[in-house]
Amino acid sequence: MLRTLVDSVKIVTKIGNNVISSTSRVNSSCFPSLNLSCGSSATQSPLCNSASFHTSLPRSKVEGRKEMLASTPTKDEGTEGEKLIVVDSMLKRRDDVFPDEDTPSKLFDGIPFSELPVCNIRASPNNTILSISNSKGEVKMLRSCGMEGFKNTRKGTNIAAQATAISLSSLAVSQGYKTVRVKVQGLGPGRMSAIKGLQMGGLNIISITDNTRVSWNPPRPRKQKTL
């Protein structure tokens, strides 16, 4: 049994040797510069062993970090669907999904669109603040994840945002608000789940507006974080 094993290993090494010599020949004809390294490995050992390849330490360290970063889950910014490409569905629904010149006077539950109360959501990486204001911008009620009892890092989670939104929207319903338009600002985990929570709490959402402040020539931002 052992002998047969040894024999088979020998055959494998032979095959390996042949393969390597043939590849080295090919290399010598095509890429003369590669000849040296490949040829030497073939003469030293029948199979290519990893010890003949030189890798420097810092490089492997960098790769380790890259692997680590690749394995970590992506941060939830509430921007699901950002990279999605579905052309057909966009074309199909184009007619009534976007506002036009008649939208401000369009009636929703007997109230024109421009007179509807607004729910402002400010989603930042560390917190989510929701407020309901009338059409002139006077804030009627305000809730944030911190006020809801979530503290420190737990404030900046989608669960906290959803719980806050549900409590705010049930409060709003009890005060007689039915339909709102939603204005979202900033990127954070609470961006999408807050809107979902508003609906779960009983409010009827007419439209979603993005109000993130973006400038193409901003004042100089703060310096980058060192990793």
């Binding site: 699901e80 009827n204 959402i205 439209s207 901003p218 931002p221």
Partner: protein, 88 residues
């Protein structure tokens, strides 16, 4: 907190049949396509001039590569034959 774009006209999506997820996805997709979210993320921290240069050069190279690759794919996929299933 006023913004330069017309509020509730620009960057606005109506919710159809209480389907919030679709509306959000559509809005996010448009913002992502237009590069608004990218610009927002980029301007959270100062981008040093060398980083700006490297990013712009990388984007130029990528655009050239993509254009070429697109042309190649179209060349390979081109066909000049009668439709085998007329009427479908």
């Amino acid at each position: 907190m006023t913004s330069r774009h017309a509020a509730f006209i620009a960057r606005t999506v109506f919710v159809k049949d209480n389907n919030i997820e679709d509306a959000c996805k559509l809005l996010n997709r448009i913002l992502g396509r237009e590069g608004i979210l990218d610009q927002y993320r980029r301007t959270r921290f100062y981008e040093k001039p060398f980083q700006l240069r490297r990013r712009i050069n990388y984007e130029k190279c990528k655009a050239i590569y993509n254009e070429d690759m697109d042309r190649k794919i179209r060349f390979i996929m081109r066909k000049n034959r009668t439709d085998p299933y007329p009427g479908y």
